[in-house]
Amino acid sequence: MTAKEKSSIYPIFGVGLSLFIVLFGLITAKQVSSLYFLGGTYLILLVTGFHKACFRIIIPVLIVSSVFGVLTYLINQSVPSAVSIVSRLLAIGIAVIPGMSIRPIDLTRNMNQINIPRSVTLGMLIALNFTPLLSREIRQIRETMKTRGAGSVINFKILYRAFLIPLVMRLVNISDTLSLSVETRGFTLSGKDYSVYKTVKPSVKDFIILLAVVICAVTAVIL
């Protein structure tokens, strides 16, 4: 999701929705109705603005759940066990969709609005935003190892000296620069009042999505 796009759902509702999908999916995993619920929820998300995340997630989730479903069937010779595994994996995959459509900054603003401590919101924002950057850093260190002809990371000495030490050094440097940058912008952890310039508010669409998913769950239970 690009920086200019808006989150597809009110962030706290998104977290709640993910929680509901996973829990309902796990509780009803052994019943075929679980698949109806998950299919219905996927369609609801698809038509209510989550289409990009839906398209990105569906192929990997289908591949992984099919592989584990087939393996479980071959090992246990039991269709309910295979359905159970497939439902669980689909539930986890579909639950990720609302999370993928929430911008970390919106989640942070939302958490600030409901008075969650700033130390927690700052840490969460960094942990979410810096994950891709750190993947790049790790790749760069591996590239440097190749350039230096350091050999394979399977060798423990090489792993320690040429990979782990530079990685931790980079973490310390990034952390020092970032904390300086955060402090320069006037960010403090003290309990002083602060302004949230862009507030995040729930819309009618958010309530409709929640209601539709609940109706889908009730229908699956009745069926």
């Binding site: 993910s18 931790v168 970032l178």
Partner: protein, 187 residues
């Protein structure tokens, strides 16, 4: 001897470092979903053992304050909130327990051994927690059922997890000490 408070205030740089450590723990744990449904007790902890002990130990060596491990658990759990909420609560609880045990024994994180112990205890504590949780919830394809079906394998896996986490925590302390010596890592 200076009488220091047990609970010290966090600075912005502490939170930033702990968040960065959490992010790198997450990045290096990306392989976890591939083994999550392998029917062996403790397989997830085996895969995550080194990362979930080494990086928290590094975090504790720099930010030697009670609550650091809990911060790491919460920050690294933010991604889990969207896919495995049980694991999120499990990690938070394990962090609290590991900190409590360490602080009862060592009183603070001043000694390197305290950082090692907290790092080494953090992930292995999730084994009994998940076992008890799935025992209560029930079911045939759960962590508890895998352990009940093959108890010997469960014991061996648990010992392997403890060994891996001890190794990871030891590595974390060693790396931090080396960087402290060179002046790169300041407390």
């Amino acid at each position: 001897m200076e009488n220091k408070k047990l609970f010290q205030k966090y600075k912005v740089k502490d939170i930033v470092f702990l968040a960065i450590v959490s992010a790198v723990t997450l990045v290096t744990s990306a392989v976890m979903p591939l083994v999550a449904h392998v029917p062996i007790f403790g397989i997830i902890q085996i895969v995550l053992g080194i990362q979930f002990s080494m990086f928290p130990a590094i975090g504790l060596m720099k930010v030697r304050k009670p609550g650091s491990l809990l911060f790491i658990a919460v920050f690294s759990g933010i991604v889990l909130v969207f896919m495995n909420q049980i694991m999120f609560f499990c990690l938070a609880l394990c962090a609290i327990l590991a900190e409590a045990v360490t602080l009862i024994i060592f009183k603070s994180y001043e000694k390197d051994a305290a950082c090692f112990m907290a790092g080494a205890l953090y992930l292995p504590l999730s084994l009994p927690f998940l076992y008890v949780w799935y025992k209560i919830v029930g079911g045939t394809d759960t962590v508890a059922s895998y352990a009940n079906e093959k108890p010997l394998l469960a014991v061996i896996m648990s010992l392997a997890v403890i060994a891996l986490c001890s190794l990871g925590s030891f590595l974390g302390v060693k790396i931090s000490k080396e960087l402290e010596k060179s002046g790169a890592l300041k407390k």
